[in-house]
Symmetry: C2
Subunit: 324 residues, 2 copies
């Protein structure tokens, strides 16, 4: 399974389908561009079923309901959910992840810091990482749309934070904008040595969305009873044929690690309260975030390709129409 | 680091040292022979510091105090702890893991089912495995001194149990003596297929003391939110140079696994209550166990070699003197 490229996508026009009983018509305002879409678009075992060829690309989006045959979702309601890479969606309540009456932040934030990225960062870090003040936290993809929030959440929890990222520019971003105590360009050589210099006593929590050699290196510097939160495997380009690497079970054993996998859609029951907690943190100034907003649906495939190339800065969104 | 062989050991005679303030002289009755002794005897990073060449082999044992200068441990007290492969030990309270007034079971049991094996099985399975009735449990080294107890504890907890072991004889032992619902000889070919046939819906808990290919195969048949309890890595002959294997982080992620390492000495505060819980289970008939008791300290090195060769049956002990 490779990385999707723009030529894998086509822009099609279609008549709006009729709105059936229990459905509503949504005008999409912000389309979300997410690393996990690679998995959604690929054939093979994953935690979501693949998108059939020729159908609308599965995607999250913020939209506003224009016409409704579900009394719980009247016209004018803003929602965030499975609306697809399209300008209009016919959806049902099952497609909705969050909704809100009066927006506390600009609408784009509901697809980013208050959307799946913020919800993932908060629920994975607090739920599986279980941070204690004074602990040391390593974050891979530290400047990314989830990682940059984890770094800030860790700092807000009283932890020391070390970020890994893939360029010197992003190292600067991590330190200056996201408040990491130290940041390391994992491409610049001796990663094990750099980690040891940044945290001589090792890490209590490793929030890893990279996998591969980055995971193996960080794992070998975990403190006893450390928690590894596996939230992605972005550094491993393909899983077929099955890639090999260092055996890690002896590290799990001797360091008494707790290594857990996090998939956000298991935690839907907590989205509402978590969205409020995140909005509070943004309003208090504890969380800053970047958005990379591009215009027009035709920009979406290139935006996804840029994401895999590491050319994004913060949460990537596609604004449709006037975006409001 | 290789497996210790009898030639690595020597039997030496020495004068009994004087018993200092706070110390006591213990006559050893049963020496314990444990897989972890390989780690204790080896140089290199481990969770216990290595035994210096030329000193007494670190070992657990049951003994009786013959002379004491610690009022909390009067002569006649039976103890289980770090008494070494020797006939007499001078020890302190810090060397003691458990003690008991009136034995409820034969003294050998205090070095086996009520000793580190039973304590490990109980605390690791219940503490990290968190079994629910109706779940399916996979145990590697299923006929071993820890695994055979885990299988029975799982059954007592209302779980379906599948055992992995290394010979057809032990498969029979698993089914007939330890009550596994199914048992598989992992040497007999298609392990993945055999696991799938035994548990088509996968495993909720994998109690693994094997590591290596056995771990990789079981891990790929875990159910969502499954727990892997890493309690050993007996199937991997050496860790230097670092061995490679299948990358497992994507499985941890997509299956939302919780993979934890268990080291018994972290849990000393629970030994007393757990010893009582285990004795209750033995007396109720829920737990059966085998002992492989050999005579005389000179039998210890071969007994350890047999353990690594898989030639043991149940808990290996060395009886000294009349063993009473």
């Amino acid at each position: 399974m490779g990385v999707p490229v723009p030529d894998d996508f086509a822009a099609d026009e279609a008549e709006l389908p009729p709105v059936g009983e229990g459905q509503f018509l949504v005008r999409n305002l912000y389309l979300s561009v997410d690393p996990a879409q690679r998995g959604w678009a690929a054939d093979g075992t994953n935690y979501a079923s693949p998108v059939p060829l020729g159908s609308v690309m599965r995607a999250l989006a913020v939209g506003v309901i224009e016409e409704s045959r579900d009394p719980d979702y009247p016209a004018g309601t803003h929602i965030y959910g499975w609306l697809g890479w399209q300008e209009y969606a016919v959806a049902t309540a099952a497609d909705v992840l969050t909704r809100w009456a009066e927006p506390r932040l600009p609408l784009s934030a509901y697809a980013g810091i208050l959307g799946i990225n913020g919800l993932t960062a908060y629920l994975a870090f607090h739920g599986l990482g279980r941070p204690l003040a004074g602990e040391t936290v390593l974050v891979s993809t530290a400047a990314g749309s989830v990682g940059s929030l984890v770094g800030q959440l860790a700092r807000a929890a009283g932890c020391r934070t070390i970020g890994l990222t893939g360029s010197d520019d992003k190292v600067a971003l991590c330190r200056e904008r996201f408040g990491y105590d130290a940041a390391i360009n994992y491409r610049s050589g001796d990663l094990a040595g750099a980690l040891q210099a940044a945290a001589p006593d090792g890490f209590d929590i490793f929030f890893d969305s990279a996998g591969g050699a980055i995971l193996d290196t960080g794992l070998r510097q975990m403190r006893p009873a450390g928690r590894i939160v596996q939230c992605g495997t972005a550094s491993v380009p393909a899983w077929s044929p099955p890639p090999e690497g260092l055996r890690n079970e002896r590290e799990v054993l001797t360091r008494r690690l707790i290594w857990s996998g996090f998939v956000i859609f298991d935690h839907a029951a907590k989205f509402g309260e978590t969205m409020i907690a995140l909005a509070d943190l943004v309003e208090s100034g504890a969380l800053t975030f970047d958005e990379d907003i591009r215009s027009g649906i035709e920009a979406a495939p290139q935006a996804l390709a840029d994401l895999y190339a590491g050319a994004n800065r913060g949460k990537t969104l596609i604004a449709l129409g006037d975006g409001a």
